[in-house]
Amino acid sequence: MFSVFGIPDPQIWIGYGLSIGLALACVLYGLLNWNGGGEERGS
């Protein structure tokens, strides 16, 4: 039976993949927009 890290159900390992992928997307978003949207206060 095919499994990923010992997990056979794609519904579960896709969930893990998405969790990790979304966390990485957050990191990427933060890095790509590191200096975006500044200097607004008081304008």
């Binding site: 499994s3 890290f5 010992g6 997990i7 056979p8 159900d9 519904q11 579960i12 969930g15 893990y16 998405l18 969790s19 990790i20 979304l22 966390a23 990485l24 997307a25 957050c26 990191v27 978003y29 933060g30 890095l31 927009n33 590191w34 200096n35 975006g36 949207g37 500044g38 200097e39 607004e40 206060r41």
Partner: protein, 532 residues
């Protein structure tokens, strides 16, 4: 067995460490007090918080003890399917919340000088009624959640410091109350950041040590997969197929997992007043962008780890005692994580994990105290008056709501922790989410539509909770009293979470009335929303 193993570290050592932790927390609270000069500091942390503090404060307030212990235990019982809640927590609770809602909220908050969530709603819609309704829902709904957090914290301190439950609850409530009352949101966010850091260290260590204890990631997961035939008969009959597989589609456990745990809690986080106000503490969008970078991985390491460790604990218990996790914890889901930590982890980690739990409880509690107290003063008692922005008045507001929550905590049953969390999140989403989303994005948001949506959402949520959803309807007993039966509808309706019914109704209501009113409002001056 669970009771015998509840304290693995000697009380004196634990008490000393807890005292050091409390001393640091109080010091950070004092720093917040020193930096609080004006009402804006007390209410929205001066609108200039550091991105890392925003992210850790948001995450630590979001993740309570219930998320770690309650939902970790739930994963031990129902398996790894709960990982879909982590997908929602990060995708909706962080990415969507910060990028789509956070920036608009910050911008409108700054432009309108809104200082609380109800104040924001009132100013977006230019309607005092909206502010009153939002404040009222907070004052009514939030004490339930706060009391549940108080109970969880007190239950932790009771065996840890070897003190009576009543004393433990009072100490817990007062320590958090002191720094919230005096230091306002700056103190709340400083202490949250400290507590969030402890939580991050604790959960990272927990994940690593757990997989070491079961022989590695693949070995541990494979062992868990091979335990599928050990699923208790009662759970198997309701659709559970194993700990590394999803329940049967459409079975009662599938509905509970997806509607209550994944959707209910996953979506519910979007419109929680104590979290929305964090967006208004950011100086600019840049701060929110940077906060996303920290927030995503933080939530992954909180809920993702709790759900994984909870499920994998079955392997450890089976290898060491021949029992599955729920049996090893004496049938109590809430005891699975503490029992596992005490049995499987080195003594030093037991201390780290206990501090993690205390930090999780305190960070959530402080945010709730602040949201309730400021709602009472700014949005209900002093709405529209100068006194609403008085530091002293808001301090009194926090104090009053702290007392109310403590009284409620003594009245509520101890087993209500996880249930009250899900209920609060469901109510927030059903009542606030559509009006909040339309308010910040529509060019001319309709006040009538928002009021109708909030009333329909709250009412539908309450009716489904009291008369249909078995998990709440049975203990509440209102349906039994009025109709002589526990719930009005049978399966599958009785296992579908109130949010799944109330939120769509609330959305349809606001969209229909908004559409109808858009023609009437056309030509009028746009409201304070971001759509202009």
């Amino acid at each position: 067995m669970a009771e015998e193993k509840s304290v693995a570290v000697d009380t004196l050592t634990m008490a000393a460490i807890v005292l050091v932790y409390v001393a640091i927390t109080i010091f950070l609270g004092w720093l917040g007090y020193k930096r609080t000069k004006h009402a804006e500091d007390y209410l929205v942390a001066g609108r200039c918080s550091h991105p890392v503090i925003i992210a850790l404060s948001y995450g630590a307030t979001f993740i309570s003890t219930s998320a770690i212990v309650g939902f970790g235990g739930m994963a031990a019982n129902l398996g790894m399917g709960l990982i879909w809640l982590t997908v929602f927590n990060i995708g909706i609770g962080i990415l969507l919340a910060f990028v789509l809602f956070g920036k608009k909220t910050r911008e409108i908050g700054l432009r309108t000088n809104a200082v609380t969530f109800p104040d924001l709603m009132g100013k977006i819609y230019r309607s005092p009624v909206l502010q009153y309704i939002s404040g009222f829902i907070i004052i009514i709904g939030m004490p339930l959640y706060t009391a549940a957090i108080l109970i969880g914290g007190a239950r932790f301190l009771e065996p840890t410091l070897n003190i009576p439950y009543t004393t433990s609850l009072l100490i817990f409530a007062v320590i958090v109350g002191i720094y919230v009352i005096y230091g306002g949101l700056i103190a709340v966010m400083y202490t949250d950041a400290f507590q969030g850091t402890i939580m991050l260290v604790g959960m990272t260590a927990l994940l690593i040590l757990t997989y070491i204890a079961v022989g590695g990631i693949t070995a541990g997961n494979t062992a868990l997969t091979n335990m599928a035939d050990l699923v208790p008969q009662a759970l198997a009959a309701q659709g559970m197929t194993g700990w590394t597989t999803m329940p049967d589609l459409g079975s009662p456990i599938w509905f509970t997992l997806i509607t209550t745990l994944v959707l209910g809690v996953g979506i519910g986080v979007l419109a929680q007043p104590q979290l929305v106000v964090r967006f208004m503490t950011a100086k600019d969008d840049k701060s929110l962008n940077r906060a996303v970078l920290v927030g995503g991985p933080f939530i992954l390491m909180m809920t993702g780890v709790a759900f994984t460790v909870g499920a994998v604990s079955n392997v450890y218990f089976f290898q060491h005692s021949g029992q599955i996790a729920i049996e090893a914890a004496g049938g109590n889901v809430d005891l699975v994580m503490p029992v596992f930590i005490n049995q499987a982890m080195p003594e030093i980690f037991v201390i780290v994990f206990m501090l993690t739990l205390l930090a999780a409880a305190m960070s959530t509690l402080s945010g709730l105290y602040h949201a309730m107290g400021t709602a009472l003063i700014c949005d209900l008692w002093g709405r529209g008056k100068k006194c609403a922005l008085s530091l002293r008045a808001n301090q009194i507001g926090v104090f009053v709501m702290m007392i109310a929550s403590v009284i409620l905590a003594f009245l509520m049953p101890g087993s209500i922790i996880a249930r009250a969390t899900a209920m609060f999140m469901g109510l927030c989403a059903s009542a606030f989410l559509p009006a909040f989303a339309v308010g910040i994005y529509a060019k001319r948001p309709s006040t009538r539509a928002a009021i109708a949506s909030m009333v329909v959402g709250s009412l539908a949520w309450f009716l489904w909770t009291a008369f249909v959803h078995a998990a709440e309807a049975k203990p509440l007993g209102i349906c039994q009293l009025l109709f002589g039966k526990a719930t009005l509808l049978g399966l599958p309706w009785s296992v579908i979470d109130p949010l799944v019914v109330a939120l769509p109704l609330s959305i349809v209501t606001i969209l229909c009335i908004q559409y109808r009113d858009s023609g009437r409002l056309h030509g009028e001056e746009p409201a304070a929303s971001g759509g202009q």
